[in-house]
């Protein structure tokens, strides 16, 4: 499967997914770490892809959504942004309801 199709399936099959450097438990970059922490603080489960463990995704994700940096956070099949936007939404109290809504409307058929 083409890598962009693979990314597209991940984004469509997971109501909330973060592409990050490292994992939520072992982040490898401060920006990824802060974004994942904010998401965890919302208490809604989410999927993640460690871009450092998948060279193909690391190379091609920026052109998938025309977004040059990591992390990238998708909620409800849509890019909400990177670390700055995710933290800003979290601080404004907008992140949790958005994540809850996406998780609820997905109907529970989540598989990473």
């Amino acid at each position: 499967m083409d890598v962009l199709e693979r990314i597209d399936e991940q984004v469509k099959n997971n109501p909330i997914i973060i592409y990050m450097k490292g994992t939520p438990k072992m982040p490898q970059c401060g920006f990824s770490s802060r974004a994942a922490q904010a998401m965890q603080a919302c208490g809604v489960p989410f999927a993640y892809v460690n871009v450092l463990a998948d060279e193909e995704i690391f190379q091609n994700l920026p052109r998938y959504a025309n977004w040059p940096t990591f992390p990238q956070i998708y909620v409800g099949n849509e890019l909400i942004g990177g670390c700055d936007i995710t933290l800003e939404m979290y601080q404004k109290g907008e992140l949790k309801p958005l994540m809850e809504k996406a998780a609820a409307t997905s109907g529970g058929d989540t598989a990473a």
Binding site: C29, F31, P68, L79, D84, I85
Partner: protein, 89 residues
Amino acid sequence: MSASRVEQLHQRLTQALNPVDVQIEDDSAKHAGHAGAQSGGGHFNVRIISPAFAGKTLVQRHRLVYDAVGDMMHSEIHALSIQAKTPDE
């Protein structure tokens, strides 16, 4: 070398977005030594106020900034922290 990167960034943002204010902070030193800094790209914090952001979502605003910065991303710049506001905000 860092100063010229800041100047370059400033010039590109000013040309593309006609901002009323741009503040750029070179944060590279804070990140020296971590994996992402090895490529030589810098970390910068950008605070930009421009009427170009009016009516745009945060994603759209950040894309405008990335587009303005263009090919400096990933060569000169490893990470860009962005605050993009309109004059009214």
